[in-house]
Every structure is written in structure tokens, then in C-alpha cells.
């Protein structure tokens, strides 16, 4: 028993267990927390493969940003999960059926797994050995050269997502009083206060 194998099974089993808990936990907040656990262990699996860059990015992006917003929303929404679950049994047969079909297909496919003989030349691995180059470097090199086009287009997709979110949700509310910092800073004593001599018993 190699240590590496042991660690792999540790990460893998926790990932799977956490994933099961995500869909079976009663409390939605717990679901999100288990999801985070699953992300963590997936990052661990990446580390085991020697893909440290992906592991860190997974933690930063998914755990550090996406899941925080998930948690935020779930906590704010106060979802009644018991109600949501009512249809669960009703849809279980068809959902289960689709799952089983996909599983059988996957098994069929994996069972007959042979990469086409003609693929050998094409699939020539340009992947350098892990020792030669850090994988941050390797990813950067391939992303900005070979996959330049999809990389830039992915940026456009994010732009669309941002524009879309703003279009669908931003509402200009009338009558909101906003702070104008420059105006506040520009206020002088003369503008702000007026000294008046009030003689007693007269009022202003």
C-alpha cells in the first residue's frame, strides 16, 4: 500500500460522501457546506495528479467566491426544503431511470474502451513531463498560444453574462439621494454655516 494511493482513496471517498450529503442533507445551508467540502477534496485530488495550479484555482474561484455567494443566497432565502422535496418520490422513477441509462451507457462505453488505432499519431501527447516545467507555466503557454481563440471567446462569454445580469436586474430607482463625496469635500465654512446675530426675545 503506497501512501499516494491511500491519500487518493481518502480524498475520493470524502468527495463522494460529501456529494451524496449535498443532495441528501435536510438543511440547505448544510448542503452548501458539504458542497464546499467536496470542492476541497476535488482540489486535493488535483494536487495528487500534480496539477497544483488547478487545485488552487478551484479553491479560489469555487470555494472562495462562488460558494460564498451560494451560501449568501441560501441563507437569505430561507427555502422551505420539506416543500421542495414533496415531488422527490414522484420524480424518482424517471430520474432514476435516466441515471441508470446513462450509467449503462457509460459502462458499455468504458467496457469496450479502445482508442481508435488510427488515433495514435494524432493524440501524440505534447504534454511535457511534470518535472520539466511547472504546470502554471505549461497552462499559460498553451492557453495563450494554441487555445488563444477559445480563451478570448470565453472572455466574451463572461462579458455577456455580466451585461445580462445587469440588464435583467438593475433598476434605476427614482428619488434616491446619493452621496457626492467631491461636493462634500468642496463645502467650506462660508457655504455651510451662516452666522446671524439674534437679539434676545426676537427669534430668528
Amino acid at each position: 500500500m503506497n501512501l499516494e494511493v491511500l491519500v487518493f482513496y481518502l480524498f475520493a471517498s470524502i468527495t463522494v460522501a460529501a456529494a451524496v450529503m449535498v443532495i441528501s442533507a435536510r438543511n440547505p445551508v448544510h448542503s452548501v457546506l458539504f458542497l464546499i467540502l467536496a470542492f476541497f477534496n476535488a482540489a486535493g485530488l488535483f494536487l495528487l495528479c500534480g496539477a497544483e495550479f488547478l487545485a488552487m484555482i478551484l479553491v479560489i474561484v469555487y470555494v472562495g467566491a462562488v460558494a460564498v455567494l451560494f451560501l449568501f443566497v441560501v441563507m437569505m432565502l430561507d427555502i422551505n426544503f420539506a416543500e421542495l422535496r414533496q415531488g422527490f418520490l414522484q420524480y424518482l422513477p424517471i430520474g432514476g431511470l435516466i441515471g441508470v441509462i446513462l450509467l449503462v451507457e457509460l459502462a458499455l462505453v468504458l467496457g469496450s474502451w479502445t482508442i481508435l488505432p488510427s488515433a495514435g499519431g494524432v493524440a501524440a501527447a505534447q504534454t511535457p513531463a511534470i518535472g520539466d516545467i511547472t504546470n502554471t507555466d505549461a497552462l499559460g503557454r498553451i492557453l495563450y498560444t494554441h487555445y488563444l481563440l477559445p480563451f478570448q471567446l470565453a472572455g466574451m462569454i463572461l462579458l455577456v453574462a455580466m451585461v445580462g445580469a445587469i440588464v435583467l436586474t438593475l433598476r434605476a430607482r427614482p428619488g434616491v439621494r446619493r452621496q457626492s463625496i467631491s461636493a462634500q469635500n468642496a463645502r467650506t465654512k462660508e457655504l455651510a454655516a451662516e452666522l446671524k446675530k439674534v437679539s434676545s426675545g426676537q427669534g430668528v
Partner: protein, 342 residues
């Protein structure tokens, strides 16, 4: 990466013992440092307000942190009736653990680091972005309004400032050409990044204040509005863990500032006069200096309003740091200064 060559049982044990010893060598001094950071905080604050601060327990109040610790240790841990027990107890533990494990990659001297990994900067960034979970979990699990509000505030605040911290880190990385923290320090042999990247240095420091919930961005706790924010329901050791985690994070952020902008363990080179002082001392000195400024800010700057905080993060820092990323990249490419390896 785990070493592929199989190890015998004794070798493994020795290796393990060595690692544990190294960890202890970092964690124990760190905890003491954290204890004294609380004292430093109070002393600096007091002096700026012309008070004396803690001065009863020990000379200059030097034993005050231990007295506080002992007091908290002997109190009863109270868990509110409506609280979500598991999450409630997990939150402080998480905060504390995260604050500790980040130190694994901090280089105290040339090569003097527990785990010299290739993506050290990303590791630190990842850990610091996780800090929000302790707070938001604690705030939610307390099942009470003020803690919840504090938790939500902190979630929004920390996520917002992480964005600009990320861009600042990218500008530094552009100049270094590596994600290894030791390389980052070495790249500052001639000039600290605080000088050419001065605006980013400022942005980073201020974002670090927001990231650690330090004044003037201490809205998650905001005594005057939320009583104590997410910490209200915590008592005894669970509260102590939050406090320890918070101060450890403060020191961590100071260490990050020192590494990214102040040359880490590199000495201040005045014709080699001060080079005899060992690297770790320099490093600790720089951390102390940054810590002092943090306390200074606490004593002098009033707390931001929430919309001002968000405005600063999204409308000032984000465009500024984004602009600097482009500018830095442009200058590096334009003058051919890009650190290309291999």
C-alpha cells in the same frame, strides 16, 4: 507531490516527526506573537489616545495576554438554544485553523520555509479567501439577528476586496514571473516592489485591512451598530479561537505585505552595512512595522459606512488595480523587462 520511492517504516516515522517539529517551530512562536499582537494593538491604541493601556498584569502589562487567555479558558462555553450546534462550533475552529495553515508557505529566510510549493502565492490567496467562511458560518449558526447581519456584511465585504487583492497580486506576479514566494522575495533584491508599484502597495494594504475586518472596515463587528456582529453569541474558548484567528490573520496579512512589497527577508541595503542581520529578523521587523501601521490606522480613522466601503472596493480599487495590471504588463512588454523563464 508525494515521493514515489517507497519508504521503510522507520524512515517514515522520522520524516513525520521532523515535519511535526517544523510545524511546532512555526506555530508556537506564532501563537505567542498573536498573544502579543493583542497587547500591541491595545498599547498603541491607548498611547495614541494619551492613555496607558494595560499596565497592571506584569511590567508594562506584559502578562496581560496570558491573563486574558486564562480567563477565557476557565469560562463556560455557552451555546444558544436555537443555534445550529455543529456549525456553531465549527466556525471558530475553522477560522483558527485557516489562520494557522497559511503559514506553511511563508518564507522566513532564504529557503527557510515549511513547504516550498510552486504556487505559494495562490495558496495564500486561496487561504485568505476562505477566511470568510468562519465568520459567515458563525453568524448564521448563532441564529440571531445581529450575528447574521454581521456575517452577511463580512461575506460581501471580503468577496469585494478579494477582487482587488487578486489584481494586485497579479501585478506583482507579472514583475516576478513565478508564483513561488521565495522567488517573489528574491526578485526584490535590488528594489522593493513597494516603490515601482506604490499605488498597488497602498491598495493592497487597505484591502488587507478590509480582508481582516480591521478598522476602519470593521463593519462585521461594528460594536456601535451590531453590538459585536458575528461574535455576539460566542463565549469562552470559542470566542478566544475567533480572536486568535483574527489576530493571526492580521499578522499573516502583514507578512504578505512584507513579502509582496517590502522585500520579505531581504535586508535594507545601505552599502551592505546592515547585511549581517539575519533574514528572519528583517522579515519579523517588517511584519512588526506593518502591524504597527494597522494599529495606527485603527486609532486614527473612523469607521466607514457600508456604502462607502462598497464604493471604495468596486468603484475605486477595482478600476485602479485593473488599470495597473494593464499598465504593468504594457511597460514590461514594451521595455522587454518581462521575466521569461526557460
Amino acid at each position: 507531490m508525494v515521493d514515489a520511492s517507497p519508504m521503510t517504516g522507520t524512515e517514515m516515522m522520522v520524516e513525520l516527526a521532523l515535519i511535526v517539529a517544523k510545524i511546532l517551530a512555526i506555530v508556537v512562536p506564532l501563537l505567542i506573537a498573536v498573544a502579543y499582537a493583542t497587547l500591541l494593538d491595545r498599547k498603541v491604541w491607548a498611547m495614541m489616545q494619551l492613555r496607558r493601556g494595560p499596565n497592571v498584569v506584569g511590567i508594562f502589562g506584559l502578562l496581560q495576554p496570558f491573563a486574558d487567555g486564562l480567563k477565557l479558558l476557565t469560562k463556560e462555553t455557552i451555546i444558544p438554544a436555537g443555534a445550529n450546534k455543529g456549525v456553531f462550533l465549527l466556525a471558530p475552529v475553522l477560522t483558527f485553523t485557516l489562520a494557522m495553515i497559511a503559514w506553511a508557505v511563508i518564507p522566513f529566510g532564504d529557503g527557510l520555509v515549511l513547504a516550498d510549493i510552486n504556487v505559494g502565492v495562490l495558496y495564500l490567496f486561496a487561504i485568505s479567501s476562505l477566511g470568510v467562511y468562519g465568520i459567515i458560518m458563525g453568524g448564521w449558526a448563532s441564529n440571531s439577528r445581529y450575528p447574521f447581519l454581521g456575517g452577511l456584511r463580512s461575506a460581501a465585504q471580503m468577496v469585494s476586496y478579494e477582487v482587488s487583492i487578486g489584481f494586485v497580486i497579479i501585478t506583482v506576479l507579472l514583475c516576478v514571473g513565478s508564483l513561488n514566494l521565495n522567488d517573489v522575495v528574491k526578485a526584490q533584491e535590488h528594489v522593493w516592489f513597494a516603490i515601482p508599484l506604490f499605488p498597488m502597495f497602498v491598495v493592497f494594504f487597505i484591502s488587507a485591512l478590509a480582508e481582516t475586518n480591521r478598522p476602519p472596515f470593521d463593519l462585521p463587528e461594528a460594536e456601535s451598530e451590531l453590538v459585536a456582529g458575528y461574535q455576539i453569541e460566542y463565549s469562552s474558548m470559542s470566542f478566544a479561537l475567533f480572536m486568535l484567528g483574527e489576530y493571526a490573520n492580521m499578522i499573516l496579512m502583514s507578512a504578505m505585505t512584507a513579502i509582496l512589497f517590502l522585500g520579505g527577508w531581504q535586508p535594507i541595503s545601505i552599502f551592505g552595512l546592515l547585511d549581517w542581520i539575519p533574514g528572519p529578523i528583517w522579515f519579523l521587523g517588517k511584519i512588526f512595522a506593518v502591524l504597527f501601521v494597522m494599529c495606527w490606522v485603527k486609532a486614527t480613522v473612523p469607521r466607514y459606512r457600508y456604502d462607502q466601503l462598497m464604493r471604495l472596493g468596486w468603484k475605486v480599487f477595482l478600476p485602479l488595480s485593473l488599470f495597473w495590471v494593464v499598465l504593468t504588463a504594457g511597460v514590461l512588454v514594451g521595455f522587454g523587462w518581462l521575466p521569461v523563464k526557460g
